[in-house]
C-alpha cells in the first residue's frame, strides 16, 4: 500500500528544503558578514566612487557601473545574434538539422570560462586595441573587451532558450497562418515572435543573469582598475577604458588580503551581496515571465 506520505515524497520534500535552506543561509551569511562595511560607509558603500583599501575607503559605485555596462553591452551584442539564430533553427530548419546546429551552439556553453579568458588575452584584446586606435585607448583591456567576450559566452544560453520559446508556439497556428496566405517571413513576424515574446524576453534575461555572474574570463581582459567613475557617463569613453566589475573584484587577490580585517572583508561580502541580489532579481523576473508564458499556451 502506498501511503499519502510516501518515502519518495518525504525525501524530495526534505531535499528541496535543504536546497532552499542553503540559499537562505548564504544570504544571511553575506548580510551578517557585510555589516561592518555598512556601519563604516552607510549608503556611501553603494554610491561612493573611491575604493582605497589601505585607507579604508570603500565605494562600490564604479564596480556596479562596470557590471551593468559590461553585462548590458554583452546582451546587446548577443541578443540579436542569439534570437536570429533561434528563428533560423526553429522556423526554417528541418528538425534533425535543427538539433545538430543546436548541439554545436550548446557546446560553446561547455567551454570553460578560463579558456575564453585566455583566448581573450591572446586575440580579442589585441583586436579591440587595433580597432579602437582612432579613439587612442591606453591598452586593449577595456570594459568593451570584457563585454565582447561575455557576448560569446552567453550566446548559447540566449540562443537555445529562444529556440525553446519559439518551438513552444503550437505549429497549428503556423499552419493556420500559412493557410490564410501569409508567407514564411510574415508567419515569423506576426505569429511566432509575438506568441513567444515573453519566452524570448526570459531567454534574454537569463543570458543577462549569466553575464552578471561571470568572473574569470572578464577578469583577464577588463583591466581591473579601481575608482573608474567616468567623467562623461553618456559617451563611448567608459566602455573603452579599463575598469572593474563586481565579479573581477571578488576574483582578485584582494580577497586574500581582506580576510582578517572586518571592514575590508565586510566590503568584499557586501559586493557579493549586491551581486547576488542583482542576479536573483534578474532570475526571478525571467522565471515569472516563463511561468506566465507557459500558462497562456496551456489554456
Amino acid at each position: 500500500m502506498v501511503s499519502r506520505w510516501s518515502f519518495t515524497k518525504i525525501s524530495t520534500f526534505f531535499f528541496s528544503l535543504i536546497a532552499a535552506g542553503i540559499m537562505v543561509a548564504m544570504l544571511v551569511l553575506l548580510i551578517v558578514q557585510s555589516i561592518p562595511v555598512w556601519k563604516h560607509e552607510g549608503w556611501g558603500f553603494l554610491t561612493g566612487t573611491k575604493w582605497f583599501m589601505r585607507t579604508h575607503e570603500f565605494g562600490a559605485a564604479p564596480m556596479i557601473l562596470g557590471t551593468v555596462l559590461v553585462s548590458f553591452t554583452a546582451l546587446l551584442l548577443a541578443g540579436p545574434v542569439g534570437i536570429g539564430a533561434a528563428i533560423f533553427t526553429s522556423e526554417f530548419l528541418p528538425s534533425r538539422l535543427r538539433l545538430t546546429v543546436k548541439i554545436i551552439i550548446e557546446l560553446l556553453a561547455g567551454v570553460p570560462a578560463v579558456v575564453y579568458g585566455l583566448l581573450g588575452i591572446l586575440f580579442l584584446r589585441n583586436w579591440i586595441y587595433d580597432l579602437l586606435t582612432p579613439f587612442d585607448p591606453l591598452s586593449g583591456d577595456t570594459l568593451l573587451t570584457g563585454a565582447v567576450l561575455l557576448a560569446v559566452m552567453i550566446l548559447p544560453t540566449v540562443m537555445t532558450l529562444a529556440d525553446d520559446a519559439l518551438r513552444s508556439v503550437p505549429s497549428a497556428q503556423r499552419t493556420a497562418a500559412r493557410g490564410l496566405g501569409l508567407n514564411p517571413t510574415e508567419v515569423v513576424l506576426h505569429v511566432s515572435l509575438p506568441q513567444s515574446a515573453r519566452g524570448l524576453l526570459a531567454a534574454l534575461l537569463l543570458g543577462l543573469g549569466r553575464a552578471l555572474g561571470e568572473a574569470i574570463a572578464v577578469f583577464l581582459v577588463v583591466g581591473r582598475q579601481d575608482n573608474q567613475w567616468p567623467e562623461k557617463l553618456l559617451s563611448i569613453n567608459p566602455l573603452i577604458e579599463s575598469g572593474q566589475t563586481i565579479t573581477t573584484k571578488l576574483a582578485s587577490s584582494e580577497t586574500n588580503i581582506a580576510y582578517g580585517d572586518p571592514i575590508h572583508w565586510g566590503a568584499i561580502c557586501g559586493l557579493a551581496l549586491i551581486l547576488m541580489l542583482m542576479v536573483a532579481g534578474i532570475t526571478l523576473a525571467s522565471a515569472s515571465l516563463q511561468f506566465f508564458s507557459r500558462n497562456r499556451h496551456a489554456s
Binding site: I121, G140, R224, Q225, E254, N256
Partner: protein, 280 residues
C-alpha cells in the same frame, strides 16, 4: 541499521582523511612557483610524494592560506609583515630562504626602441603619482605611459614601493590597471604600446619586454644582471622564501630540504634566480 550507516559514513570518510594526511599542499608566489613546481615533479616521481602546488593570490595568498592552515608550505617573494603576523597570532611563520630575485621595471618594445633605457627613482615616483604621463618626459617617444600596476599583495609590488617610498604603507593611493602573475604581466606589456610594469627580472626576456636599468643619483646605470643582484648594487632585489608554520616536519621537511640541496638550488638558478651560494 544505525550501525550500518555509521560504518558507511566512516568508510566514506576514510579516503578523505588519508588523502589529507598524504597530500602536501603548497601555494603562493608565481615567482617561487617555477623552481618549486619542478622540485615537486622530481619528488613526485622519485619519492612518490603527493604534492599539490598552486599560485592562488601570489605571496599574499601563500601567507593567508598558510595562516588558515589550508596549505603546509607558502611560497613568498617578500618578508612576512608584522600585519600578517598580527592577523594570524596562532601561527609561527618561519621563512626559509631558497634564493634571491630582482624586480625589474619593464617596458614594451616601442618604448625601448624609442630610447628609454633607464629610469631614476624620482621618475618612477612621478609616474606612480601621475605627475609624468608621457614617455617624452623620459627622453622617449611621444606616447602616453600605460602603467600596469601589480595587484596589491604581490611580492613584486611590495619590492617596488619599498624601493620608491621606503614602505608599502607610505605608498600613495593610485588608480592604474592591475596585472597579476608574471606571465600575464609580460603578455600585457608586450602587446601594449607605451607600456610599463614591474616584473620579476628573470622574466624580462629582452625580446618582447625589456628591463630598464636604474639610474642612481651619481649618474650610474645599474642593470638587473645577476652580478649586480649578487653584490647588491641593484636596488630592487628580494629574497625568495618557502614559508612554514614552525619548524618543518615530515613531508614539509622533505620538500624544504630538497630545495636547499645542490639539485634544488640548481632549479632556482635554472629559472634565472640567484642561488644561495652565489649571494655574498
Amino acid at each position: 541499521m544505525k550501525m550500518h550507516i555509521l560504518a558507511l559514513l566512516a568508510l566514506a570518510g576514510l579516503p578523505l582523511l588519508t588523502a589529507h594526511a598524504e597530500t602536501l599542499k603548497i601555494n603562493g608566489s608565481t615567482t617561487v612557483n617555477l623552481p618549486a613546481a619542478e622540485a615537486s615533479e622530481i619528488l613526485r616521481s622519485e619519492k612518490k610524494m603527493d604534492i599539490q602546488i598552486d599560485t592562488q593570490g601570489g605571496s599574499a595568498g601563500g601567507i593567508s592560506m598558510l595562516g588558515e592552515g589550508l596549505v603546509q608550505i607558502g611560497m613568498i617573494s617578500k618578508h612576512v609583515s608584522d600585519d600578517d603576523r598580527a592577523k594570524f597570532p596562532k601561527v609561527t611563520f618561519k621563512e626559509i630562504q631558497v634564493g634571491e630575485d630582482a624586480v625589474a621595471l619593464i617596458v614594451s618594445k616601442d618604448v625601448w626602441d624609442g630610447g628609454v633605457k633607464s629610469i631614476t627613482k624620482q621618475q618612477a615616483a612621478d609616474i606612480y603619482e601621475g605627475k609624468i604621463k608621457n614617455w617624452k618626459d623620459l627622453g622617449g617617444p611621444d606616447k602616453r605611459i600605460a602603467f600596469f600596476n601589480k595587484e596589491p599583495g604581490r611580492g613584486t609590488w611590495e619590492v617596488f614601493v619599498h624601493w620608491v617610498y621606503g614602505s608599502p604603507k607610505k605608498a600613495p593611493q593610485v588608480s592604474f590597471p592591475e596585472v597579476g602573475g608574471n606571465e600575464e604581466t609580460r603578455n600585457k606589456v608586450a602587446s601594449t604600446k607605451g607600456a610599463l610594469s614591474q616584473l620579476s627580472s628573470s622574466w624580462a626576456d629582452g625580446k618582447t619586454v625589456f628591463a630598464l636599468s636604474i639610474k642612481t643619483a651619481d649618474g650610474k646605470e645599474i642593470s638587473p644582471a645577476n652580478e649586480n643582484i649578487a653584490n647588491r648594487t641593484y636596488p630592487l632585489s628580494r629574497p625568495l622564501f618557502l614559508l612554514t608554520n614552525g619548524e618543518p616536519t615530515g613531508d614539509t621537511k622533505t620538500f624544504v630540504d630538497f630545495m636547499l640541496t645542490e639539485r634544488g638550488q640548481d632549479l632556482v638558478k635554472k629559472h634565472g634566480y640567484m642561488k644561495l651560494s652565489d649571494l655574498k
